[in-house]
Symmetry: D2
Subunit: 147 residues, 4 copies
């Protein structure tokens, strides 16, 4: 694994306090017999949103009358171990660093033996729906990410 | 094939005049090595929308300020022949019958040898976005389906 | 709902004894703001396989050295109520009737208020991997569907 | 765009000589009204495989009796411009660098105005199906990537 966003894996993996379980569906496999490489990003999205709900940030973003939405600025995934149909994974999520209107989110997927299956990261930016411009976090919002 | 919506297959298959090409993507296969059974409905949706654009009905439905959208009332698919990665299919589409605010759309998927791979049908209903009630076609719209 | 495979809805819905929970993912919605109509079939597949594991039939079908696999002969879905992001659904599954090498499986998706969101059915057939021919159930297997 | 794998964007974008067209399907949008961020990786996979077929490397990997398959080691995407339903994209692909048993593939997605919508990269590794170990390219194979 050459994930340059992880300095000390031991330390990095200890910092996650939130995770969601995911079971690999049959329709998510491909003809090579394993989880198709595009599905990992669906798991990241699912885990990210559950995390954002957990810290209390998702409400406004799901309100059709809200003025802001989060957009994904970039995403990456490093594949460590093949994953197969019916495996039970835990997708761990954390906010690794918080910018003025963005947040860098990290992911760690482990199997039932607590082995690392894949890791990843990506920045999301809060933008104004009308202008498309970045909208800074309030101080209250910044605090939410540190919980 | 027990598709009860097809009385005379020969006759039925001749009535299609519109089709779209689709190539099976790797991510659309599953660990049994063939096209996963859920993807056929994505092909139906793609073909249906191309058909609706072709007859001139899609414009209002894609306008965020439009008052109506089409919703799928039911869908079915009969699987005749296994389909594999990289196969080039043609999805033929027609309006089989038109109701006051609905239309019954039929599908016929053939491979490059013109063999039938799968067939299907489904009703879509035009509803009012605010009320959720069926919104009757205008006479002009009904005519579009017969073109 | 015009689902012709349901004679008496009250009676039909009581006959389900197995179900799996599913939560609607963000990536499963579409620009009309609701669950995309193609995803319902992924839920059916997931529920069907959990059911087949539950009754004890899935083992051989997942064994790469097994001689048979189940294939989907047809599938249909009747959409009753729009479903939105983050809704918690229960997908109820039952074997409605068993043929010599096939089984007709029915589905009933309900939300947290126990309202019907969509219903469906489809036949799966056990085939021989090499010949592609239908492979009859053993008497033991037929019994499994009645549990 | 902070894509660190692109030194000189002008130069980088000129080096692509192969591309495939993709049209955004309705089922690929999400409730925010644009292309869901997980689908970009399906486009990368589709474009990568078309590229590998084009250079002549895919044949053995699709042969069930072949001894090697390519696996994705990592993937990343930088999102530059929102993409919407029905947009016609071109996904440009190139081999940016070739290792002993791996290749680093770059992607550049442009719309019909030739504007950049998203960029990406990822390493694939050729592994032996039985051992899971990396299998070095032959000299002939290495040459294919430079065509």
């Amino acid at each position: 694994m050459r994930a340059t966003y992880i300095e000390d894996f031991e330390q990095w993996s200890k910092e996650f306090t939130f995770s969601v379980p995911v079971t690999v569906r049959f329709s998510e496999t491909d003809m090579y017999g394993h989880l198709n490489n595009t599905v990992n990003f669906s798991y990241f999205e699912y885990a990210r949103i559950e995390y954002l709900k957990h810290v209390g940030l998702m409400n406004d973003w799901l309100n059709p009358k809200g003025s802001t939405i989060p957009v994904v600025a970039d995403l990456q995934c490093d594949y460590v171990r093949q994953v197969f149909f019916d495996e039970q994974l835990n997708i761990h999520v954390k906010a690794a660093s918080v910018g003025s209107s963005s947040v860098d989110i990290h992911y760690h997927a482990t199997n039932s033996k607590r082995e690392t299956c894949f890791v990843g990261r990506g920045t999301i930016v809060q933008i104004n729906k009308s202008t498309g411009k970045g909208t800074p976090w309030s101080e209250e919002e910044k605090v939410l990410f540190t919980n």
